[in-house]
Every structure is written in structure tokens, then in C-alpha cells.
Symmetry: D2
Subunit: 153 residues, 4 copies
């Protein structure tokens, strides 16, 4: 799915960075996160809510919805190749999510800076209803991502 | 631990509500959340970060820290007996958390209203370092918590 | 500018509510806020930054940019006719604003609920650069706006 | 009021930085902000709400309360001598503020970092009621504050 022969260098870098991050991201794997589309400053993910992700009201724990968006933010904000970390995140939950719901999350930039960038993520149910709106500010360190597949050949 | 013969009615209600919520909260149980202290508008929790909670950088996924605080918010904000739901949450991460770290979270009110209340939660490591500061605004519905143990005898 | 003979009832209500709010809003007037477009759940405003709005660094005080967006939120969120108040707001400043800059702000809904709604506002400079991204959660009271011009004839 | 013969060097630096910032801060002066106490990473301010600061409901515009806290954040976060700018701010309004109310704001750190720090500010009325809770994340640039009075003699 990630393969794209005509990918530009920046697209190849984005996909390589996220592939390595995802392979090491135990919690995103526990969540069942799937990568649908990765491009520079952009990530589209999918997951299905399971019973073990519900809270005391029998609905999806807010932390699960947040975590899903936070993974999307981490992927989208690291695509340029600098190790990038979260500074401040916020989330609003317009509608509750139930076990069995299939969620999609798209993270995309509001503003890209040299040191600090801001992204938003929309989390939707299969019927298109917005179930979470997430905003995240990140800090781009000077450190380059390591251990990437060679993307220059 | 929750037993306290001299508990006032409001303390008994707080503990009864949270005991039922916690018993049904599959995700908080997966996180390994322990209830250290529950009082009206207050929750103190503990958890230990496990390898499966780490992200692509080998550190605790931000969503796990958030989820821990979100559980504390849910417990603290439901103690008065009305079903209460999150509206808007934000978190800042001053320091990263590693697998094996033992975290403590205290949620307490900034302001209690009839319909809307605001809580903050401080998440600290065993050495006292602040690793997360969480703020949550909640909406108190008119619905009473059901299925509580009889706390009036 | 607000006149629109073919306006539907909901558009007429939106414009009537905001006209009355604006007429009484001393601080928005001090800011020099102009109403460019008002529709149900939507407000587009304009203002010009003046020297007296700058801070200790000679750039526009963050509170001014916030206030501009907060006015847009207040107008957009009251258009349905119920008195609506802010619960929680956040703002990010991707780029600094200088005295003399002409700002535009568009507030629009992320999710509309019966009691609680969430809006975002984008604040841009004349060159289209995003200088602020604002998110606001509001509470719709049961109280109807009073003193509106008769919009039913 | 700012004079304190026994001030340590860091306290003298804090007061000198803020004195210069305040002298140039046209908007804080328009707000009528008074500096009650300035120390490293700490600012305590006072202001009185005037009629021209009210909104369409005849209560203090949320942007004014925010601006007051934002000034406190700016002062508190610049006290260490590096030019420091706001990244992301949020505010919650537990209680409304009226014209004539005398407000106090205390900004203090939640976590101090080398590049990024987080502060909170509590805004209270004269009767002690919390009317705003503000959180701000700031970025410390490498640039030193200039034009300070000589604080070393």
C-alpha cells in the first residue's frame, strides 16, 4: 500500500520515517492502527474500537480516541525527517464512540514552522460523523531520523 | 482500601460511584490503573508503564499518559453522582516517560459548576517530576448514576 | 451590507442577533471589528491592528488576536438565537502580527450540539498567512436572545 | 514597589526585564495592568474592568480576561532574560466578570524547560472567586533581552 514508484524524494522520506516509527510503536499496534496514507505533513489512519477500549459507561474511553489522533499527529509531524515531539495537545469529543466503530483519522498541518508546527486531526466514524477534533503543537528537534531504509536510490 | 467507616454520605457516594465505574472500565484496567484515593471531586491514581504502551521512539505513548489523566478526570468528576462526560481536554508533556516508570495522577477541581466544571490533573513520576499537566472541562448531565451499592445504610 | 432580501428566516435571525450583540459590544468596537458576513453558525470579521494593541516586543499583543477570534466565536455561536457562552478556548500563533496588519477571521463550526458546540476560527493576514488558529467550545443556554428587530415580517 | 535592595541577581534581572517590557506594552497599559509582584518565573498583576471592555451581553469580554492572563504569562516567562514567545494558550471561564470588577492574576510555572516551558495563570476577583484559568506554553529563543537598566551595580 505504501509503495509508489513515482513517489518524490520527500514522499519516500515521509513513508520511510513512518514505516520505521510504526514498526516500533507497540501502543499504536495494540490499538490496531492501520496506515492508510502517508505524505509529507499528512497521515490518514484507521482503527476499530474493541471492547477492551471502553470505559465505565460502556463507550470508547476518551483516551483511546485521543491516542489514535496522537499517533496520527506523531506520524504526520515526523514526515520531514527531523525527530519531532508533542508539546501541547487538546481534544474535543462531539459524539461518543462505541465498541465496534471503525474510526478514520486525518492529521494535517495548520502551520509548519522551523521549530514549532501545529497540526489538527479530525476523527470520524464510518458514517462520516465527527467524533473527535484534535489539535497538536509539536517541536522539531535538530536530530535526524535514523535507521531508515535507503530512500535515495 | 476504599472502606472508611466514618465516611460522610458524600464520601460514600463518591467511592460507590467510582467503584462501579472502575469495575466496568475495561481500558483503565488494561492500563493497570489503581485507585489510591477517591473523595468528592478528587481522584488519586497509580499505574506502571509497560513495554506495550511505548511509541515509535521507545518512550511512553502520549496517549497513555493522557488516558491515565482522563481516567482520573472521569472518576473525580463523577463523584457527585451525576453522570458526567468530558467536553474538552488538553495536555502538556514537560518530560518524557519511559517503560517501567510508576506514575501517579491527582485530579482535582479548578472550578465546580452546576452544568460545567473544570478539573486539572498532575501526572508525576515516582521521583516527583511532573510528566504531564492535564486540564479537562466536563458536562454534568441530569442523569443519576445507577446500580450503586446502597450507601445509605 | 447585512441586508439580503432573499434571506431565509434562519439567516435573518442570525443577522438580527449579531446586529444587536455588536451594537452592545463595546470591546469589539474598540478593536475596530467589522462584520463582513454573518450566517447561521458562521461569522467573518475584519479588523486593523493599531499601535495601542501592541505588546512589549512591538508586535500585536496575543490577547488582541485572541479577542478578535473570541468575538467571531461569540457571534457565530449565538446565531441560532439561544444565548450562548464560551466554556473553553485555545489559540495557537503560527506567525506574529504587526501594527497596521489587516486581519480577517472566519469562525465556523466543528460540531453543533444541543447543549455544547465546538467552533474553530482561522485568523489570517491580508496576504493569506495564517496568524492564529483558535478553537472554542460553547454552551447554549435555554435563554432566547431578546430585543431583536422583528424578523418575521 | 519593585525596589528591593536585597534582591538577588536573578530577581533584579526579572524586574528589569519586565520593567522594560511593561514600559513598551501599549495594550497592557490600555488594560490598566499594574505590576504587583515580579520574581523569576512569576508575575502577579492587577487590573480593573472598565465599561469599554464589555461585550454584547454587558459582561467583560472573554478576550480581556485572556489578555490580562496573557500579559502575566509574557512577564513571568521572560523573567530569565531570554526573549520568550507564546506558542499555545488556553483559557476556561468558570464565572463571568462584570465592569468594575478588580481582577488579580498570578502566573507561575508548571514546568520550566530549556526551550519550552508551561505556565498557568489563575485570575480571581477581589472576593477570591476564580474567574479564569489560563495555561500557556512558551518558547524560549536564544535572544537576550536588550536595553535593560544595569542591574549589576
Amino acid at each position: 500500500m505504501m509503495e509508489n514508484p513515482s513517489a518524490t524524494a520527500s514522499e519516500a522520506l515521509a513513508q520511510s520515517v513512518v514505516a520505521v516509527m510504526y514498526a516500533n510503536d507497540a501502543f499504536s499496534q495494540w490499538l490496531g492502527v492501520e496506515l492508510l496514507e502517508i505524505r509529507p505533513h499528512y497521515a490518514k489512519l484507521k482503527m476499530t474500537v474493541r471492547d477492551e477500549m471502553t470505559n465505565g459507561f460502556g463507550v470508547c474511553h476518551g483516551g483511546v480516541t485521543f491516542s489514535f489522533a496522537d499517533s496520527a499527529l506523531a506520524f504526520a509531524s515526523n514526515t520531514a525527517g527531523k525527530v519531532t515531539v508533542s508539546v501541547e495537545n487538546s481534544i474535543t469529543y462531539p459524539t461518543r464512540v462505541m465498541s465496534g466503530d471503525v474510526l478514520c483519522c486525518v492529521a494535517e498541518p495548520l502551520a509548519i514552522g522551523r521549530k514549532l508546527s501545529t497540526f489538527q486531526a479530525h476523527i470520524t466514524r464510518a458514517d462520516g460523523t465527527l467524533v473527535g477534533h484534535f489539535k497538536g503543537t509539536v517541536y522539531h528537534t535538530e536530530k535526524e531520523h535514523q535507521g531508515l531504509a535507503d530512500t535515495t536510490t
